[in-house]
Symmetry: C2
Subunit: 308 residues, 2 copies
């Protein structure tokens, strides 16, 4: 195999009570990438379509991630990467993670899969670090492993795949305003009260239990975040109205995707997701901001091979 074409999906990180640890992978939204093994040595990004991003390997998340895996598994051959972006940079649904994860996934395939999905996380994180200013795994993990993942630790890397309840469905609103991850990181406080921290870990523990038991009621009661959301939501237009309307329309929970500006709702079933989508549309449409709404199952597989 000398070439692989893949679909590399968007993802939602910082899922409410799981700030910095919990993420899930989306189904219909994602980039395409072509990774090619070539005779002349070296790594090249030969084409980027859909976004204005640097072709320079050292300035591109896919490039840095690809370098990381090739450093761990040196090759005489070279590699070329083409990226067809559908996920907008800065949208908050893992645009850079899709590129970084896609690059290492594709190269791993062409190398004959020397690394497991869990092992690939470390390489993809080296790309992610460029985009967000710090190495984190909560987007690349669900993209590489599929489904819903919990990052217990990044040093050493220890990521757990959680079960995906069958009917769990996501609604994503991407309001097209720019919000850099680095800026969104800066406004988070360095300390948190013990009381709120305890609430948060109680909620996350309960949410994990609810995923195993497919207990949608408990998912709903535990999808909360009183630490980061109250601060970051100030940067997102109509956040409170969108949340209220989504919950009224039957959403289990509603929160910020990544560091925003995208927001997510989780529902039981596609029918409720459609109602939530309609409720969101009714609030966001009159504002006059350009936006997109995605409805998605949880993508249990992660990256998919389209052809090779």
């Amino acid at each position: 195999m000398d070439q692989v074409k893949i679909f590399t999906p968007a993802s939602v990180a910082n899922v409410s009570c799981g700030f910095d640890v919990l993420g899930f992978c989306l189904e219909p939204v994602g980039d395409e990438m072509v990774i090619r093994k070539v005779e002349s040595s070296g790594l090249k990004i030969t084409k980027i379509v859909g976004e204005s991003l640097p072709l320079d390997v050292k300035k591109n998340v896919a490039g840095l991630a690809a370098e990381a895996i090739l450093k761990a598994h040196p090759q005489k051959a070279g590699f070329e990467i083409e990226i067809y972006k559908n996920i907008k940079a800065g949208s908050g649904i893992g645009s850079s993670a899709a590129s970084a994860a896609g690059a290492v996934f594709g190269i791993n395939e062409l190398l004959g899969k020397p690394f497991t999905a869990h092992e690939l996380i470390a390489f993809a994180m080296e790309g992610e670090a460029l985009a967000s200013g710090s190495a984190h795994a909560d987007n690349v993990a669900p993209v590489l492993m599929g489904g819903i993942t919990l990052v217990r630790s990044i040093n050493p890397i220890d990521v757990i795949q959680l079960p995906t309840p069958k009917e769990l469905t996501a609604v994503i609103l991407h309001p097209k305003i720019e919000l850099k991850t680095m800026h969104a990181r800066e406004i988070i406080k360095k300390n948190v009260t013990m009381e709120k921290a305890i609430q948060q870990w109680g909620n996350l523990g309960a949410f994990v239990s609810a995923l195993f038991n497919e207990d949608y009621g408990l998912m709903s009661r535990s999808l909360k975040d009183e630490i980061i959301e109250p601060v970051r939501s100030l940067l997102i237009p109509e956040f409170d109205s969108l949340k209220k309307a989504s919950i009224s329309a039957g959403a289990l929970g509603f929160g910020i995707s990544g560091s925003g500006p995208s927001v997510y709702a989780l529902t039981k079933g596609m029918k409720t997701a459609q109602k939530v989508s309609k409720a969101i549309d009714e609030i966001i449409s009159p504002i006059g901001i350009d936006f997109e709404i995605h409805l998605s199952n949880i993508n249990d597989q992660g990256i998919k091979i389209l052809s090779n």
Copy 2:
């Protein structure tokens, strides 16, 4: 039925990464109580054996808890309570919780079980508040519900029973020094760094997942507490040596039980528990403090009826 005799067990709360939310119920250590329905109205504690505790209903955790359930379910008849304490007050393995939970469990039996175990938690908490200075559920919940419990919220009360991996075994060391819960609460800081809070909720989420999957390796990696343990362990003699020796002897994790002075280790299987117990004994024996070591399965049932 006019009388019930029960075994009301000890419990471990504040289980490492689950500070203030995670607890489990012990098997061989516990008090006995006799609850009797009598014709003359009113509530009386008629006997306490084994500890010097007030018979005055208003000054006794069992009395206050009993009052709470009877307020919610008023009776013409009266109730008498006898308490045979085996769990030392201030030991850190839920002495007051055993009494409070036992009282409401016994009265509920004699009333024909109008309340579920989950509903009884609120009444038992009113007793607990007297002992610890604040209402908390992390000991009464496992005693009433059995097994391993996670207190997601106490207002409203929302407690989840987690699965008990078959081979999970506890070793408890109770060094007989006095350490009041209120004092141990005071030394905890009011704030925690975001970094450590995220670590803690990542660990708790992982630990919950590990219980469902019976993944002992992951239990071990996630049984950590870098927030409370570094402070409270200073009050416990030889804590660091005990922890190191227990882990070396094969313990999955080691931490403070409740607010101390008792400490717990969790192991896979009784054989390893015995090795850990021996390692603990070798450290604590030479010091000259009076102590007890208990080995216990996780008690899935909680309070047991001995006769009625």
